[in-house]
Amino acid sequence: MRVRLGPISMDYKGIARLAEVDEESHRAVFVVEGKETRGQGSASATITNRLVGEGGSTRVVVGTELSVTGRPAQFGRGIMQDVAAAMLRDFAECLSQLMMGTDAQETALAEAAAEPAEPLPEKAPPKPEASNPPPQRPQSEELKVGGVVWKVIVARVGRVLQRFARRRRPS
């Protein structure tokens, strides 16, 4: 998996796994763990996805805890925060597109804001619903951050979440 942010690029090899599924609270936790392919650093992310009903739409609250070791962590000015924010935004967009694309009836808006290694607050302002589609990134085909693994994870997250969402529908 290659993480890119502008000129910064880090290659990790590792695994992504579904660590926890809580059908009751509509919560799914993914863990991604990687080791730098060149260099000694590592990265791991815990991505918590939770479905929240909101009037006619459903909000996916995505929280992430990112832990990075090695030079990316030390090279300052908060680039890891930037990387984390960008990764999460990509993740959210990707998820949002996936879910809106696969189930047109359902409106799932992925909300993302990241402070790494801090549980995501839910205070993000409510977004207007379906009429306002998520912004299209210029290279929406090729995610700048995250690359292939994101797609895999997003697909799996999406499947779990859609299962949750369907179950919510009657309420």
Binding site: P7, I8, G39, R77, D82, K144
Partner: protein, 291 residues
């Protein structure tokens, strides 16, 4: 802390550069002033297969005014901007901004195009150019296009430039005569990337009220950001401290800056607000107008 291996080309023309970009695209990285890229290379956080050094593309190094536009070649060094008396007279905001870039050694080597393409939201020039409604020329073998700041800057360190595209020129519409400006930032040390800042342009009508306002925020978001709500608020207002404070409040209404060890998101939001207010006051005082 030594850079990883890479192949190296040093084309001497735009055409040659575009050919190389077409050939190597994603695997190549443009090397301009190198003041941001080389530290990343030394830390081995960037590992392009190939560097395309454009420092010998002399046709990219110019600064001229024509048709009401300031045209800046992408390879123009910060120090050239700093020294240009024409720039000081016609676009003093840019001069004030460039003076705050790093230190003399950085400005002697750093380029305007490099600073723009690096797209650091805490960098001075992208913010000043955003306030100035500059447009950015990108060229590739496929053709050329012109982008606005909001089109160019995508997120942290990321622009909309395609891998085969080269930023060639920045065009800055000359501010109307009588336009006043302010550029303010706060950093913990002299010359560091600021924790927050603002660039402001104010144009007044004959009655003294604001006819046009431009406010761009530094380190407030993942890109340079125009505070359009605050700009609209200012139009038609007669300037005073209260108006400045209100505009500043509106400017940071929905920003959520990234926090780090030097300041939390909250701190930075308050800081950007203060910077906007001060930049407005600075612009209003007009003290910085012209060289």
């Amino acid at each position: 802390m030594k850079p990883p291996q890479f192949e190296y080309d040093d084309p001497s023309s735009i055409e040659e550069t575009l050919t190389l970009l077409t050939q190597y695209g994603e695997d190549a990285k443009i090397l301009a002033g190198g003041q941001s890229l080389v530290p990343l290379l030394n830390f081995r956080l960037a590992r392009p297969d190939r560097l395309i050094d454009i420092n010998n593309v002399r046709e990219l190094d110019y600064l001229r005014v024509e048709d009401g536009m300031l045209r800046i070649g992408a390879l123009t060094r910060h120090s050239a901007l700093e020294r240009s008396s024409e720039l000081g007279e016609r676009v003093p905001l840019l001069r004030d901004a460039v003076r705050l870039v790093g230190h003399v050694q950085i400005r002697n080597r750093g380029t305007v195009g490099g600073s723009v393409a690096h797209a650091d939201p805490a960098a001075e020039l992208p913010v000043a150019l955003t306030a100035l409604s500059a447009r950015f020329h990108a060229r590739s073998s496929r053709g050329s296009r012109l982008l606005r700041a909001d089109e160019l800057f995508v997120t942290h360190l990321t622009t909309a430039l395609e891998p085969d595209e080269l930023l060639t020129e920045i065009e800055v519409p000359l501010p109307a005569p009588g336009t006043r400006h302010g550029f303010v930032e706060f950093s913990r040390r002299h010359g560091d990337f600021a924790l927050g800042g603002a660039a402001v342009l104010l144009e007044s009508g004959p009655d003294g009220s604001c006819r046009h306002a431009a406010i761009a925020l530094l380190a407030a978001a993942s890109t340079p950001l125009r505070a359009s709500g605050a700009e609209q608020f200012l139009v038609g207002q007669r300037f005073n401290e209260r108006v400045a404070a209100e505009a500043a409040e509106r400017a940071v209404g929905d920003i959520n800056p990234t926090g780090d060890i030097h300041g939390s998101s909250n701190y930075r939001r308050g800081l950007v607000k203060a910077m906007v207010r001060r930049a407005l006051v600075q612009a209003d005082s007009g003290a910085k107008e012209a060289a």
